[in-house]
Symmetry: C2
Subunit: 126 residues, 2 copies
């Protein structure tokens, strides 16, 4: 497995915030499954990703496709007992850091449950 995926899996599965932080570009844009406009910057993106990593249960990657600086990673998980599938669409900049991160989730009831839980947790930080 290539270096990026090895590090990414370490960030996700070992919940290693330092590794996650090192993988993100300062100007990363995060495209969430909920809204159209991206969230901008490393702090915002790391906060969202660290939160979603805690919300997902039984998180597993399946097909993980790469082409040049683009990765599309298929996953499954559970959210409050509901099955979800999703993809991470990741683009790396020339320094090998993530500068675009986009997430899509199905089905609609799992997406809604995730939105509710994320709202609770991120709202509680503010």
């Amino acid at each position: 497995m290539n270096t990026f995926l090895t590090q990414w899996h370490r960030a996700v599965f070992e919940r290693d915030r330092q590794v996650l932080n090192d993988l993100l570009a300062d100007d990363v844009s995060f495209y969430s499954p909920f809204g159209w406009k991206p969230k901008e910057g490393k702090l915002m993106t790391a906060t969202v990703l660290n939160t979603v990593i805690q919300v997902f249960e039984d998180f597993t990657y399946h097909r993980q496709l790469q082409q040049d600086s683009d990765y599309i990673l298929e996953f499954s998980a559970k959210v409050k007992g509901l099955h979800v599938k999703g993809v991470d669409l990741i683009h790396l900049n020339e320094a090998g850091k993530i500068d675009q991160f986009e997430v899509m989730i199905r089905p609609a009831n799992g997406l809604a449950a995730l939105g509710e839980e994320m709202g609770k947790r991120l709202g509680a930080m503010g």
Copy 2:
């Protein structure tokens, strides 16, 4: 571009129903962005795909990644004036026919608009 993608683009962009039909395995499973359980079979899958092709405006493919018999195709479109992004996750069987087709869409408001429009059109057929 390889044969499958050439044919798939013809089915989508020329709205060629015969080509679409030829690409689908009889036992294809369709995983929609709305529900967890797949819709089964060629007729059901072709009906849903032909309908969504008519609903999407300004449909464009972006990153199109392949690994062996798996394709993940990123797209953008508009639904009733709303921007959407999505992915098609496609698996081909040994005969080169689509036996799994999964779709994910973001953001939530575009997904809801698509669901409403699909319900109207597929409901009207019944």
